[in-house]
């Protein structure tokens, strides 16, 4: 086994002397965490809504007052008064405003008659997020308008009381598990796959193959060193990311231990996958070419950025075999819910089984000669 240790020593010495590699494989996941976290995580604010009041009655004034209150308070939207509906619709089509709230001429009369009073929201539905926010906000506003001034002492309608089990999770925290797995993957690809194939094409492996090292020692040397590098990267992002995302109590030693366990198992699973893909490759362009494809196919279906329940069936099928899914699930349990090992046992088991299968296949395919 001392020969495998020599390979590991060589790989880690080279790694230490390659600050560019270290920085590059860590900067991208951190950048993604921060940029995606803040880009998608914030509440939508200051949408522009044109109000066309064709009624001018008391209920219409009440709607305009409520709109003004939202504009001043939650700031979900700002209101612009239009006298002419045609002008408002033209501005909507030209993208100057996000929606037009029209209060029709007979609105007040219908309110008083209790005869299906209606207001219309004509909205720009090309942006789903903005549109859903606007509809939600307007919906609550109209519901508030419908509340009687003095309600019955005992409510006759059923209501839903929501109990939140965990503290509020900002989107950046939701993204963190995916970023940790991504940093492990980046190191596996750059520090593992790309360097492995580059060394092979430079003839460095020829130097090893003429020594008495066994096939098993060679494979162990390459994979253990790759795992160590990926674990270092994953651990760094876990610590730095927890601080950036504001994960509560980030340095709880028992949780750190459990997190480290998941990171090690994930790193080994991804190194095994990489080694299986690269074992017969000689062209140094290939790992670079499949880098982006693999990243997309593994990261996005994993549930790291969006719940898997929203995926079409074919994507859910990818998610089922994707090792990222299990790593992200385990890390979410630990980081967002602070669960014990029991809650991540299934994930660890899958990742280990995945590693064993991939590594066995790679070992069978590995050639001890050129």
């Amino acid at each position: 086994m001392h020969r495998a240790l020599a390979i590991i020593e060589r790989e880690l010495r080279r790694f230490r002397r390659s600050p560019t590699l270290i920085v590059m494989s860590m900067i991208m996941p951190i950048m993604q965490l921060v940029v995606l976290g803040y880009a998608f995580g914030g509440n939508v604010k200051h949408l522009k809504v044109g109000i066309v009041d064709q009624d001018h009655g008391l209920p219409a004034v009440k709607i305009r007052e409520l709109s003004g209150a939202v504009a001043a308070g939650a700031r979900t939207f700002d209101t612009i008064d239009y006298a002419d509906q045609g002008q408002a619709l033209a501005d909507l089509r030209n993208g100057r405003i996000n929606g037009v709230l029209t209060i029709p001429p007979e609105f007040s009369r219908r309110v008083l008659e209790r005869n299906q009073p209606r207001v219309a929201l004509i909205e720009d539905n090309t942006d789903n997020f903005a549109s859903a926010t606007l509809v939600g906000s307007m919906g609550s506003m109209i519901a508030a308008l419908n509340q009687p001034a003095n309600g019955p002492r005992v409510a006759g309608q059923a209501t839903l009381d929501v109990v939140e089990v965990y503290p509020y999770v900002p989107y950046i925290q939701y993204l963190l598990p995916g970023s940790i797995v991504m940093s492990i993957f980046m190191m596996v690809m750059i520090g593992g796959g790309i360097i492995y194939i580059d060394d092979k094409s430079r003839g460095l492996h020829e130097g090893y193959l003429v020594t008495p090292i066994t096939k098993f020692e060679l494979i162990a040397g390459f994979n253990v060193s790759g795992t160590i590098k990926a674990v270092l990267s994953g651990t760094t992002i876990m610590v730095v990311g927890s601080l950036i995302a504001g994960v509560p109590n980030p340095f709880d030693p028992m949780r750190l231990l459990r997190l480290e366990l998941v990171i090690i198992v994930t790193a080994f699973a991804l190194i095994s996958l990489m080694f299986l893909i690269m074992v017969r490759v000689t062209d140094p362009l290939l790992p670079r070419a499949i880098f982006g494809v693999l990243n997309t196919v593994l990261y996005f279906p994993s549930g790291a950025v969006y719940p898997q329940q929203g995926f079409p069936p074919w994507m859910q099928a990818i998610a089922v075999v994707d090792p990222f899914t299990y790593a992200v699930h385990a890390l979410k349990n630990l980081l967002l819910k602070d669960t014990g090992v029991g809650a991540i046992g299934g994930d660890l088991l899958y990742l280990l089984a995945f590693s064993v299968i991939a590594m066995t296949a790679a070992t069978l395919l590995f050639k001890r000669t050129l």
Binding site: L5, R17, R202, V210, P212, D283, P284, T369
Partner: protein
């Protein structure tokens, strides 16, 4: 026992036969050169002998170990310097040697002393802790030579050890190899297409072409085996008619070629032909403008055995042709 015993070894890549039934033996303590043009099969042969490629048929023994059935025995007793630079550029000279000493299982107490001695032999002791990437092409080659010897092998394989080096670095590598060889019990097999290198270093030379052994002997005997031991290059002021035929009739002449008053005369006996040439020229009143007598070189031997045709052929692209391949300086 021979250090290397190659018997009827064949290597085929699909339909292409790279090595076609080569047989030779290298005695212990020899420096043996494999000489041949590009694509002759030298590197394939050396790769089979160093266990990197299995032969298609035939047997090869290195230090008595079969390269197929006892590859581990072969690997333990050989040192190999492949054609490409295979040292880690980011690591220091010493680190490169230490890693390889560990790969060969050299005990710790022996390792430090051995590495020190080797670095001294290749004159890199003062650069021992510098990264290899900061060394020149010649120095990198010397690092590799030291690295290949770090486990005290009995047979040392060098695949084109001086290709790409400047003349001074080449001579330095030769001298170091000869010095190292004189200090230890070592058999060396090297491939080259530099004739002067083979002439200077090798006890015996095998000329390989198209995967076959064309000639095998000492440099001296190989030179002697080629028609015309000497070549006379002579120019005249003016020539009478049928002058070429007169020159061909001179003693020991094997052939005459010439144009523009310049003639090349191949001779079995340079001095005798020269004497007769001068006499004939004087008698005929032909002024001799210049005259030089050259011995046969290995270049002549090489061309004699391998011919002048270019070996243009398509081949499978090699990983080493990649744009990412590090070229040796």
């Amino acid at each position: 026992m021979n250090a290397i015993d190659v018997r009827n070894v064949v290597k085929k890549f699909g339909d292409f036969t790279a090595v076609n039934g080569i047989t030779f033996a290298v005695e212990a303590g020899e420096i043996f050169g494999l000489l041949g043009p590009n694509g002759a099969g030298k590197s394939t042969l050396i790769r089979m002998l160093t266990t990197l490629l299995p032969p298609t048929s035939g047997t090869a023994l290195v230090n008595g170990f079969n390269v197929v059935t006892d590859a581990d025995g072969v690997r333990k007793s050989i040192g190999v310097i492949p054609q490409a630079t295979t040292s880690d550029l980011e690591l220091s000279v010493r680190e490169n040697l230490v890693i390889y000493a560990k790969l060969y299982g050299v005990p710790r107490e022996k390792r430090t002393r051995l590495i020190h001695d080797l670095l001294e032999s290749v004159q890199l002791l003062q650069w021992a802790d510098k990264p290899v990437k900061n060394l020149s092409g010649g120095m990198r080659r010397r690092v590799e030579i030291a690295r290949g010897l770090v486990h005290e092998p009995r047979v040392f394989f060098l695949d084109e050890p001086t290709t790409g080096l400047d003349p001074v670095s080449r001579v330095a590598v030769w001298e170091m190899l000869l010095k190292i060889k004189s200090e230890r019990d070592l058999t060396i097999l090297l491939t080259t297409h530099y004739m002067d290198e083979a002439d200077k270093l090798c006890d015996r030379i095998a000329i390989v072409d198209h995967g076959e052994l064309k000639a095998l002997d000492s440099p001296m005997k190989l030179k002697a085996s080629v028609p015309g031991r000497n070549v006379l290059e002579v120019s005249f002021g003016s020539e009478p008619d049928a002058w070429t035929r007169t020159l061909e009739a001179l003693p020991d002449v094997e052939g005459v070629t010439g144009h523009d008053h310049m003639f090349r005369i191949a001779s079995r006996n340079g001095p005798a032909t020269t004497m007769a040439l001068m006499e004939t020229a004087a008698q005929s009143g032909v002024p001799v403008h210049s005259l030089s007598v050259q011995s046969t070189t290995l270049d002549d031997v090489f061309v004699h055995y391998t011919g002048r045709g270019l070996r243009d052929a398509l081949q499978e692209p090699s990983a080493q042709d990649s744009p990412f391949m590090l070229r040796r300086k």
